[in-house]
């Protein structure tokens, strides 16, 4: 495993997918995966295949919807878009992540104690 890439925390992928769909509108799985890779600047260790587990989970919770359609270059693909409850969930989760990351920043900013031995 490359140690230069980030391993995704449980649940973070779901949030990324929601945010991507909220920002970009309807997208197919490949599009979502590519978008996350681009945004992360290839910082994320992501097998594109894993995105689908997240998609089916979100879909079952009613936060995104899916429909077969045709891509720009005339290929059949399944398009996902965020739903209203999805947007609500996204804002809740985003707020949560922001609080968590602020907290983590503060904790990590504590000065390290001198080693007295």
């Amino acid at each position: 495993m490359s140690d230069s890439k980030l391993d995704l925390l449980q649940g973070t992928l779901d949030l990324m997918v929601l945010q991507t769909l909220a920002a970009m509108g309807a997208l197919h799985g490949y599009g979502i995966a590519r978008r996350i890779e681009q945004v992360s600047g290839n910082e994320v260790l992501l097998n594109q295949g894993t995105i689908y587990a997240s998609l089916v989970r979100l879909q079952q919770r009613g936060w995104i919807s899916a429909e077969w359609g045709t891509s720009d270059n005339n290929r059949k693909a399944k398009f996902y878009s965020i739903t209203k409850p999805g947007r609500k969930q996204l804002s809740e989760d985003a707020a949560y992540w922001q609080r968590l990351s602020l907290l983590m920043n503060r904790v990590l900013a504590l000065p390290e104690q001198e080693d007295k031995s």
Binding site: G49, T50, A53
Partner: protein, 889 residues
């Protein structure tokens, strides 16, 4: 929250659309890859490179599929289904194993379910009356009489006192047996009935289906000509006609108005179940108000009735008992009588089922033991299978299955097996219940309330699951400990696990041997007791005797003279019939309940009331003793010439107890108070076991039938010819003399004897059946284990033979190995049964629960079974030639 719920529902939905969703995901993946390849091509890759990169970026497609499935469906259920499919395949692959296991389980579980459903209906489920937990029966206690009768029936005067003063009860009800002769419509018919306090039905919480129940003002002599009838009687005798309400019927010559019909699902206990003593009363079909007569209000005599009461809410039994005892003490003080009087309560449920409870628990224990032996056998078979499948398990473990998954596989297989067994058990239970219900001796109460129901199915399910888990633990334990590397490296087992497994097996053999020894000893002791009861000296001769019960309607036979005229004539005409060698009448036949119990006061002895001996008084004709074969020991039997004198016969025991060491002929005594007439003893006769075969004879006094007035008599006839012919002739005779006398079914005395021991026979048969099953299962189990272990030892045997060991040496070796756990089990079983001897002794008659002959016999029998089970596999093992033995594996 709603989102989660939604997700769960979706997951369940996806579970059922697996194939479609898989397909959908396949196309989605294909489209994903195409999109990726296209983009890669656009960035200038060669087609092959574009495809390779797309696949790398995607990651494992199989893995993505698995993840997709896991996150959308119910992964544990899916793998469980997989296990189940696999388990089914395994069972199909070894059909004989499956059949043996399922049948064994089916029989064991079925037997348990059947017995349990009887236990459930009789003991566990409360009576069907509302709030039945507060219903109790009341009995009186006369401490001085307690050696003879610990509890006595209720005295009507005492009942009135309680009714007036007791605060512990909401309601109290007095009951007494009373048969009715229904005439007027069709044949005269004898119908069992009861006299009851007017509030009996409201206390039991039942409303008549038609009409009304009794009013309080009907509970008075003179106003009591009303009856409530049971649903079955309404259907059988009145064609379920709703117009019967208000109709008048003739009972025993008196006219009664039918005021109510009880609902179909209402069960009234048999009166005999409510009494503390042995009385023969049946399920009442007709109820009339009690209407106590003045002549029944004797404060110190006449303990004749049953009493049911409903406790006030919140009052405990002990509170109610102490209140009753205070009332009894007050009452005795008021009377100024020198007698101690107490009372006690028994919950109605216990009162009704008490006598059958222990017997049913014994049966349940025997059935459970057989089930346990069955489980041991199957555990063994599964353990054997686990050992032979260790390679498969090792491979599965090597390619990533964890121990939990492998053991789960074992549990799934066992549970599948036990569930199949349970299904089979339901069928067995259903047929067994039918056999039990049709053959059950009448002594078991509430038998009509027993049937298969939801609880039974739940019980079966519970038992099957429990057994499945039980017999899976051993193989699961074995499989969880498989070391894949060691297992696959060598085809033979590692030495340590082999000894552990075989030690475990020996333990199982010991366990099942011990259990079946215990069952067999219990069965043997019961059988011995049953034979003892049958061969006990009854004091009478039951062969060639036919009996019939007569009830003389009291309106037309209201005095001694008319009754005596009728009975003398009937006896005369019966005696004259061809095929009759003797005929007599008695107020009570042997084994049909206690006669009239009365206190005896010998002339010249002034004993206080409570110290007078109590005797069973029977009114008989002179020929009765000849007919039934009770021998005359001394003096003479009374005869026609004694009609004008007060005479009596006493049993040898009565003579010995009441007049110890004296010549009783010519001695006189009184029955009842000091002013009652003196009876002179003219003879002493043999003792008879008249109440029950396993109860020693009681003090008995025979008084000529013409001295005492009774409307219920039994005619007994000794035949020389065919009893059936004689019976029909006697029936004709009675009909001719008085067509309004109801004639019961004729019974042979032997039939009465047999039905008196029917409960014991039923219990003995079932326990023996279970013991036989236990022995068979134990034999099969030992056979299975020995044949497996000898087949595992084939190699060793071959080596020993090749090295020069003789066949007998090897046979001794193998036999010894197998016999050791059996011996330990035999010993364990004997110890167990000795430990249970106190429990067992209450079921036994005339035999020591540690009877050495029975124990020795059982050991020999089971030893032989075990020897046979060992011999056959052993013979196969040593017949094998050393060469082929060495080539084995």
């Amino acid at each position: 929250m709603i989102d989660r719920l939604r997700q769960s529902l979706q997951r369940i939905a996806s579970f059922f659309r697996r194939a479609q969703l898989d397909q959908d995901f396949d196309s989605e993946m294909a489209s994903h890859l195409e999109l990726a390849i296209e983009e890669n091509l656009r960035s200038g890759m060669s087609p092959a490179e574009a495809r390779r990169q797309a696949l790398i970026q995607f990651g494992g497609t199989q893995q993505a599929k698995e993840n997709h499935r896991d996150s959308r469906g119910i992964p544990w259920l899916e793998s469980l289904l997989q296990d189940l499919r696999f388990a089914l395949r395994m069972l199909r692959k070894s059909p004989s194993f499956t059949a043996v296991a399922v049948l064994t389980l089916g029989l064991c579980i079925g037997a348990n379910t059947a017995i349990f459903s009887v236990v459930d209906a009789l003991i566990i489920r409360p009576l069907t009356y509302p709030d039945a937990g507060r219903l109790v029966t009341i009995h009186e206690i006369i401490p001085k009489l307690s050696s003879f009768a610990p509890l006595v029936p209720v005295n009507a005067v005492h009942f009135r006192e309680w009714q007036k003063n007791a605060r512990s009860f909401d309601q109290l009800v007095l009951l007494g047996g009373r048969s009715f002769t229904l005439t007027g419509t069709g044949d005269a018919q004898r119908i069992p009935g009861a006299r009851v306090s007017s509030n009996v039905f409201s206390m039991l919480g039942v409303k008549p289906q038609l009409g009304r129940s009794f009013r309080a003002d009907e509970d008075v002599p003179g106003h009591d000509q009303v009856v409530v009838i049971s649903h079955p009687l309404w259907v059988s005798r009145f064609n379920a006609n709703p117009d019967v309400i208000g109709k008048r019927i003739v009972l025993g010559g008196d006219s009664y108005e039918i005021i109510g019909v009880l609902p179909e699902d209402f069960h009234f206990p048999r009166l005999s179940q409510l009494y503390a003593m042995t009385v023969s009363e049946e399920h009442p079909e007709i109820w009339k108000p009690f209407a106590l007569r003045d002549d029944e209000l004797d404060a110190v005599g006449d303990f004749n009735f049953a009493c049911i009461a409903r406790l006030r809410p919140g009052v405990s039994i002990s509170q109610a008992v102490s209140e009753l005892n205070l009332l009894q003490a007050d009452f005795v003080r008021q009377l100024g009588a020198n007698v101690e009087l107490h009372a006690t309560l028994i919950p109605l449920q216990d009162q009704i089922t008490g006598r059958s409870r222990a017997s049913l628990e014994l049966l349940l224990a025997a059935a459970a033991a057989v089930l346990l032996i069955g489980c041991v056998n199957i555990a063994n078979l599964l353990l054997t299978q686990a050992v032979t499948r260790r390679n498969e398990m090792a491979i599965r473990s090597a390619i990533g299955a964890d121990a939990a998954r492998l053991t789960r596989q074992v549990f799934v297989e066992s549970l599948l097996l036990s569930t199949l067994g349970g299904l089979c058990g339901i069928v067995v239970a259903y047929s067994a219940m039918r056999v039990i219900l049709t053959n059950v001796p009448i002594d078991l109460p509430r038998m009509d309330e027993v049937h298969l129901n939801g609880w039974m199915l739940l019980f079966t399910l519970g038992v099957s699951t429990a057994t499945g888990l039980l017999f899976a633990t051993l193989p699961a334990w074995y499989i969880a400990r498989i070391d894949p590397l060691a297992t696959m490296r060598s085809s033979t087992r590692s030495a340590t696990s082999a000894t552990k497994v075989s030690r475990l097996r020996s333990l199982l053999v010991s366990l099942e041997t011990a259990l079946s020894v215990t069952c067999l000893i219990a069965g043997g002791l019961l059988l011995h007791s049953f034979i003892n009861v049958l061969s006990v000296d009854t004091g009478f001769e039951a062969r060639q005797l036919v009996t019939v019960d007569l009830n003389l309607p009291d309106t037309r036979y209201s005095d001694l003279t008319t009754k005596n005229t009728f009975l003398s004539a009937l006896l005369e005409r019966t005696r004259a019939l061809p095929g009759v060698s003797a005929s007599g009448i008695s107020s009570k036949l042997p084994l049909s309940g206690e006669g009239g119990n009365n206190l005896v006061l010998a002339e010249g002895v002034d004993l206080p009331y409570e110290e007078r001996p109590l005797a069973d008084i029977r009114n008989v004709s002179p020929d009765y003793l000849t007919a039934i074969g009770i021998p005359l020991r001394k003096g003479r039997v009374f005869g026609e010439s004694d009609r004008t004198r007060q005479v009596a016969l006493v049993s040898a025991l009565a003579a010995e107890r009441i007049w110890p060491g004296q010549d009783v002929i010519g001695k006189r005594f009184r029955l009842g108070g000091i002013d009652s007439p003196l009876n002179e003893i003219v003879g002493v006769v043999g003792d008879v076991r008249a109440v029950s075969l396993n109860k020693s004879p009681s003090l008995t006094i025979y008084v000529p039938y013409w001295q005492r007035f009774r409307n219920d008599v039994s005619l007994i006839v000794k035949t020389v010819g065919d009893p059936a012919v004689v019976s029909s002739e006697i029936r004709g005779l009675i009909r001719e003399s008085d067509p309004e006398i109801p004639v019961s079914a004729f019974q042979t005395m032997q039939g009465i004897v047999m039905s008196s021991v029917a409960p014991r026979r039923f219990q003995t048969t079932l326990v023996l059946l279970f013991a036989g099953a236990a022995a068979l299962l134990a034999g099969l189990g030992i056979y299975g284990i020995v044949s497996y272990s000898t087949s595992q030892q084939t190699n060793e045997i071959g080596i020993r033979m090749a090295l020069g060991a003789q066949r007998p040496t090897i046979a001794r070796l193998v036999f010894g190995q197998a016999l050791f756990p059996v011996g330990a089990g035999l010993l364990g079983g004997v110890v167990l049964s000795l430990g249970l001897r106190r429990v067992l002794s209450s079921f036994l008659f005339g035999i020591n629960p540690a009877d050495p002959a029975t124990i020795l016999g059982v050991i020999c029998f089971l030893g032989l079974v075990a020897a046979a089970a060992i011999y056959f596999p052993l013979r196969r093992a040593i017949k094998i030639s050393p060469m082929s033995a060495l080539r084995y594996e």
